[in-house]
Amino acid sequence: DAGVTQSPTHLIKTRGQQVTLRCSPKSGHDTVSWYQQALGQGPQFIFQYYEEEERQRGNFPDRFSGHQFPNYSSELNVNALLLGDSALYLCASSLDPGVNYGYTFGSGTRLTVV
């Protein structure tokens, strides 16, 4: 049973460009949350998707947007990339609301903005 799959694993982009990261949740999970983790820091909550809608959002600008598809997979889009967007982006899936068994995380996408 595959866990959470994220692609790509690594990505290098130039300032001002746009990027799309993808996530396939664990089989049976219907909720996807995205986190940004800078080096040496804990994961910071970006937003959560459930039933194809953004249910909650953290303190991230509108440059960060997302989508959830009918098969529960999700995308994270970041526009107008800044150097400070360089981080590990983690996708976590759960069976809504996700507080009985915790989240299952993918291994992340390492984004470097140059």
Partner: protein, 113 residues
């Protein structure tokens, strides 16, 4: 604002001893508290969850306590092993609007053989 504090300094202990990690929080009333393990370059792995009405939860060599008065959780690893070396993250979730889960910065644990 909501804040989660974990020891920023690494914890070094000898194999076989009990490791105790602390998680303190402010301006928050979590319904659930979780602990995760994270190895370098990998995503966090869920270990234990404790609810606000529970005082203690155990799983094999792991024990978590949750004191909502002190706003603190303690995470214990008994009979620690070098393989337990990792960063341990505390995470809180409220029961409002979708159980958004927020994480602390984590504590790095080193277990020496």
């Amino acid at each position: 604002s909501q804040k989660i504090e974990q020891n920023s300094e690494a914890l070094n202990i000898q194999e076989g001893k009990t490791a105790t990690l602390t998680c303190n929080y402010t301006n928050y009333s979590p319904a659930y508290l979780q602990w995760y393990r994270q190895d370098p370059g990998r995503g966090p792995v869920f270990l234990l969850l404790i609810r606000e009405n529970e005082k203690e939860k155990r799983k094999e060599r792991l024990k978590v306590t949750f004191d909502t008065t002190l706003k603190q959780s303690l995470f214990h690893i008994t009979a620690s092993q070098p393989a337990d070396s990792a960063t341990y993250l505390c995470a809180l979730a409220s029961n409002t609007g979708g159980f958004k889960t927020i994480f602390g910065a984590g504590t790095r644990l080193f277990v020496k053989a």
